[in-house]
């Protein structure tokens, strides 16, 4: 797939990389949420997590269709999602972290992501790229519900029983090291910001941090101190977890290429 990308201009290549980051975040988190189907603590929550997963999958489809057009190599959204290997995936490490059959982990991962995703999609409403702005206008309405949902669970669990408080605090302490990657600037992000296509990642930090502080205070949870921040996913350097996701997600298209319903 990399051979075909030589035809793109540097601007198109940066936009393509940027779109893959957005789309891969949504695809991988959607898959993680999908693992809760039939396994959530209560029926309503089973339905809720799958609804969020469906929204993210729909957003990914809109983004990946566009990414395929920018790339200009004849790849549709299915080709991009089902035929790229882990090295070519551009999602942040946060979204690939496993559920560990622990609802607190799923909620903390979702909350840290939603609080950032809401600010990102809000900023993308102003994108100079009309297609991306239209996708954001659709997405931000959905993400508003996601953030509200994960925030409410942070409060319920954090300000709940000693058991639920302990579990959610532990998950927060554990996942915090993946939050830094959301705000890292690199050549792709800088180019997008300069072109007015996407916000500068650091510009999203203050609002994200304010949301986190507000919800953690209501949830009686302690904000972890910033220490070593693990990153690399946006450049294709993933942990071992992504491979297992792709093995399951891509099996059918790898075994039966071009299979259709």
């Amino acid at each position: 797939m990399t051979a075909d990308t030589e035809k793109m201009t540097p601007e198109q290549q940066a936009l393509f990389d940027y779109l893959l980051r957005l789309g891969d975040n949504a695809v991988v988190l959607s898959h993680r949420l999908g693992e809760w189907c039939g396994h959530a603590p209560v029926l309503e929550e089973d339905i809720a997590l799958i609804n969020v997963a469906l929204d993210l999958l729909g957003q990914a489809r809109s983004i990946m269709t566009y990414a395929g057009e920018v790339e200009g190599a004849g790849h549709d959204e299915d080709a991009l999602v089902y035929r790229r290997d882990g090295f070519d995936y551009r999602n942040v490490l946060l979204v690939e972290q496993p559920n560990e059959e622990n609802f607190a982990v799923a909620i903390v991962r979702q909350f840290l992501f939603d609080a950032w995703h809401y600010e990102l999609q809000t900023a993308l409403l102003q994108s100079s790229d009309a297609r991306l702005a239209a996708i954001a206008a659709k997405s931000v309405k959905e993400v508003t519900y996601h953030l509200r949902h994960s925030s409410e669970w942070m409060v319920r669990l954090g300000d709940g029983t000693a058991e639920s408080h302990g579990r959610v605090q532990e998950a927060l302490d554990d996942l915090w090291r993946f939050s830094g990657e959301l705000f890292e600037a690199d050549a792709v992000e800088e180019r997008m910001a300069a072109a007015g296509i996407g916000p500068h990642p650091q510009s999203l930090y203050a609002a994200w941090s304010e949301t986190v502080d507000r919800v953690l205070a209501e949830a009686t949870l302690s904000r972890p101190e910033d220490g070593w921040m693990q990153s690399g996913g946006r450049n294709g350097r993933h942990g071992e977890h992504l491979g297992f996701i792709l093995a399951e997600m891509q099996f059918l298209q790898r075994a039966y290429p071009d299979a259709r319903w």
Binding site: I47, L54, L57, R61, K138, T144
Partner: protein, 171 residues
């Protein structure tokens, strides 16, 4: 965004829009795609090609493919030749586009229509709009979950008649 008004439009366009009235949402079959505001445009090109423009309620709405097939089937049976269905995201669909008759049909079907002028969806807990039970008309209702059986609905229950019901949530 107002839909194209039918006044002063040529009769063949009136007929096209009336034919499209037969296309319903597969998940809420009492509503047509026009009632829902999903039908954004329909026109007949110089070469007789019909172009129908639709927009999804939610990004992942699984009904969109079926609606596209339904449009092609209904127009095909009405004798139209080439039909192209375009999906647009802009402007983003909102529950405000639901027609008045659509709201009444929803209520009769047992789904509470979306509140108008809803409160901020960023507020946590207790900021839900006032929703009337579609079964008994009571305002003594409460949300069970913001996510329901389809992307566009929330789960509610009535404290008066004790029945659960779907609420078509604001977006």
């Amino acid at each position: 965004m107002p839909l194209q008004t039918l006044e002063d439009s040529p009769p063949e366009l009136d007929k096209l829009w009336q034919t499209l009235e037969a296309v319903v949402d597969p998940e809420i079959p009492v509503l047509t795609i026009a009632d829902l505001g999903l039908l954004r445009d329909a026109e007949i090109g110089a070469d007789e090609t019909v172009t129908v423009t639709i927009t999804p309620t939610y990004s992942g709405c699984p009904a969109m493919n079926m609606i596209e097939q339904e449009i092609k089937r209904v127009l095909g049976e009405a004798g139209y030749g080439a039909v192209e269905v375009k999906t647009v995201l802009h402007p983003a669909w909102t529950t405000d586009w639901l027609s008045e008759s659509g709201r009444e049909k929803l209520r009769a079907y047992g789904i509470a229509p979306p509140a108008k002028g809803s409160t901020s969806k960023r507020a946590l807990f207790g900021a839900e709009p006032e929703v009337t039970c579609p079964h008994c008309g009571s305002k003594e209702t409460e949300q069970v979950s913001a996510f329901g059986s389809t992307a566009c609905k929330a789960l509610w229950r009535c404290r008066s008649c004790l029945e659960p019901f779907d609420y078509f949530k604001c977006i």
